[in-house]
Symmetry: C2
Subunit: 516 residues, 2 copies
């Protein structure tokens, strides 16, 4: 303690001895957010405490209503839930105030005269200072500040000006919900001994083998060799460098030392198709775990997936502000029901039977086909909640998924077209959710070196850049392991009932002009 | 409630009615980690409870010692703190066991016979099953599994085989510490009403104007136009696309709607120099906040920076396992002292005076020079704790930092070389920490449209791709705001006493061959 104290003294001496040429920054607080102002006032109101202390509120004006002797201003700063604002009552007409302005108001909190829960308190302001004005004639959000739904005219306007998106009520509710979900999932991971890791974004391999990838080159190499792609990899000493499409292979390396790992990282697909579900850049929460039980290995991964997602749903509905956001977004108690029930787990074979027997809306698949997104949505709608589909045919899944020992026995009468097909399956799953379709994918990984090598050759991939994965991780103490990846935007799309994933993201990246 | 119950029944009916072609995955648990096994046994031991329940332990063998009638195995799974292992006692010689194997052991926990805190309990195994063997003759880690320090021969070996890095004691301690730091900082942000946001990794602008950036092109465009760089931006409709060097500009857009925002994202610099502090890909925690007080605006940002970093330091030392990791890494109570004291805040001008008056080891700077990294380290060492240096000359800082109203008054006798220099400064700061140097950079942003435009022109940057930032964010309700960015690897480097940031990262990206 003595050493610590003397060090503090030494610092102070310097501060005193030196010439006063300089600014000195004393401790300085940010003003309270509207959320804190309102919460503190509500607490005082409920416990009959004095509310006379002067307060300062900062925010953007959503609307101004002028009465004869008073002006009512609705104020927002992005920290209240749903469509809630703080009502501020000003004396007089306050002619200088318009929507879109950033203002500082001084006054006192008081009991509100409104009837909704967000109107339990209001502010009586004595003084207002305009910090930043807005030219309403040219402000793109002038007429849509109140707009809520992304499938409206307002949404089209907002999509053109992503840099103003965070000022809309809709995006605020989305982003606050996303924050809650991420924090809850991180807490679940921590409580279950998963270590957070940071797999590289720039990688040397295309782990899915899909080809829809982005290449990374140093701009200095482009400038030196403007007409030659071959020389553009000088920064990487001639190696090809790509943006990762999945952290999985690297996560396996982490898991084979730390046992349980997870990451929250951006991933990239140079996807040309413009659907409501696809982005060129999106975030995945991926997890990988060792020591899977020898019986029912996949079941342990399904359990983890289900539990971490249920923690996210609980967080999205947890407290007052969260409920305000979810209600505002039009979300229903469907999610609450999803927390109560165990999620159905059916095999791919079972799913195909079900589609062939009962789905009349969409052409049914044959055993061996990939499930289309309309199949996925039909299955999720059929069960009315998230459903795990497991054990897909091995020839439609990546080489690293573990091959099941038994082949599937098919009823040839039900599957005449599939009579000659391979019946091999892999220990994998997709989690399908209503409206969205595939939300999570995962599998047990092929830990047997010889089987993995054979599967890779069959899939036509080169193993040279993956020696570390194919050979090293399998030959030196690599026990059974597996994992999953959750598309965070799709999770948010499901929870917040937002059809277009690009409306969930501040600056969505899709094929086309890059404006920001 | 009725609706929910009937839905569950419907699901069950399907499950029963459908043909049993499929696997069905019942709930299946992962086996407990060694951390949980040890913790539960210690709890039972301390409360004198029965320890007779059978348990199963999974892990990698670190060492095997054979006595006449017993074999002692040290087991790790990456979830214990520091160099701790679980000691397992097996009957007989257990000839088949070697270091590096992945094993499953069955038996019972018991009071330990060792003297250290990690030996309070041990396992008495009856059965062992080798899940994955290791060829010790070729295993790169065969002789370095126990190695601890990254500045040893072992470190060179580990750097060659990044995919085995997570199996080393050193990296495990690093990564667990990083997990704790991130969780604590996320909690601090949440408690202080900061909303987590997700700025894009692929951007259209180089916000620092440094030029050391990476370009992103779709691989399909490369394949179609192999010899033409110009056409390689087809995916982006002819726009240039880069990897972000900082999320700041986008964070400002988020903050000007949500008031307080933060992000944890990878950023990229095509940095050619191979120093101990630089990576081409690293993670930044960035925060941006609105409604800075009109007096002492920068002070509010310094306060936030100091508080969130102190929450990280506290977390790194918080509980038993955390302390084990930090002690193992050779960290000292210097950090604890940093929590107690307020961190000194001096101006750049003050820092230059101090260097010229007292620093004899390094050539002193002239007012107007950038501080070199050896200046930064000298200043941090001088104060013996983190020190904020504020208000740098405007001509050595980016255009978006807010210009101070007053010019600096210099003592020309002390600064003869600077007699003719501009004395303008900007409201910014660097946080310098011992051994590492710059850890955080931040500033108040220039919110005045005309000043910003002039500063941008002076710095020679084109504003065309930044219209949204320069014009829109300033003209439509943009109040005073500012923020900071913390280099997460440098924070970890400081806290864990790790000299090379690349030893902190699983798969570090630097100029040169890309192996993984």
């Amino acid at each position: 303690m003595l050493g610590r104290a003397s060090r503090v003294v030494r610092v102070c001496q310097h501060a005193i001895r030196l010439p006063v040429l300089a600014r000195f920054y004393a401790s300085s607080s940010l003003p309270p957010t509207l959320h804190v102002l309102r919460r503190d006032a509500e607490t005082k109101l409920a416990s009959l405490q004095d509310m006379d202390a002067p307060v300062t509120a900062h925010g953007w004006i959503v609307s101004v209503r002028r009465h004869k002797t008073r002006t009512f201003v609705e104020l927002t700063d992005g920290t209240l839930g749903g469509a809630a604002t703080l009502q501020v009552v000003l004396p007089g007409e306050a002619r200088e105030l318009t929507p879109g302005q950033a203002v500082r108001l001084s006054g006192r909190m008081a009991a509100g005269r409104g009837r909704t829960s967000s109107q339990r308190v209001e502010m009586h302001a004595e003084d207002v200072h305009v910090l930043a004005s807005t030219d309403l004639a040219t402000y793109p959000l002038a007429n849509v500040m109140h707009s809520t739904k992304p499938d409206s005219v307002a949404a089209d306007i907002v999509r053109q000006v992503s840099h103003f998106k965070a000022r809309t009520l809709h995006f605020g509710a989305i982003q606050r919900t996303r924050t809650r979900i991420e924090l809850a999932m991180a807490a679940w991971m921590d409580q279950n001994d998963f270590c957070k890791v940071h797999p590289p974004v720039i990688t040397s391999s295309d782990c899915e083998g899909g080809g829809e990838i982005f290449r990374v080159v140093a701009e200095s190499d482009v400038a030196q060799q403007p007409s030659s792609v071959e020389n553009m990899t000088a920064f990487w000493s001639g190696n090809d460098a790509y943006l990762t499409v999945s952290a999985q292979l690297h996560l396996e390396a982490y898991a084979l030392g730390l046992s349980r790992v997870w990451s929250l990282c951006p991933v990239f697909r140079a996807e040309g198709s413009a659907t409501n579900r696809h982005l060129a850049e999106f975030w995945m929460l991926e997890a990988e775990m060792c020591w899977l039980p020898s019986k029912n290995a996949l079941g342990a991964i399904l359990d983890c997936t289900e539990e971490v997602l249920k923690s996210a749903i609980r967080a999205a509905w947890h407290e007052g502000r969260a409920k305000d956001d979810m209600t505002f977004l039009g979300a229903t108690d469907e999610h609450a029901a999803s927390i109560e029930a165990p999620w159905p787990r059916i095999s791919y074979t079972h799913a195909v039977q079900l589609l062939r027997a009962q789905c009349t809306e969409v052409p049914a698949p044959v055993w061996g086909d990939s499930l289309r997104s309309d199949h996925e949505r039909w299955l999720a709608a059929h069960f009315g909640m998230p459903v795990f589909v497991t054990d897909f045919p091995s020839n439609i899944k990546p080489f690293y998924m573990r091959e099941n020992d038994e082949q599937v026995t098919l009823d040839d009468a039900l599957h005449p077209e599939a009579a000659g097909a391979s019946r091999k399956t892999v220990a994998c799953f997709d989690l399908l959710v209503p409206n969205v379709g595939e939300l999570v994918g995962g599998s047990v990984r092929e830990e047997r070196h010889d089987v993995l090598l054979q599967r890779m050759k069959q899939s036509g991939l080169q193993s040279s850049s993956l020696t570390w994965y194919i050979h090293d991780l399998r030959r030196y103490g690599g026990p059974p392991h597996g994992g999953f990846g959750i598309g965070m935007e799709r999770l948010l799309s499901w929870l917040t009932h937002t059809y277009h994933v690009r409306d969930l993201v501040g600056f969505p990246r899709v094929k086309g002009p890059l404006r920001h």
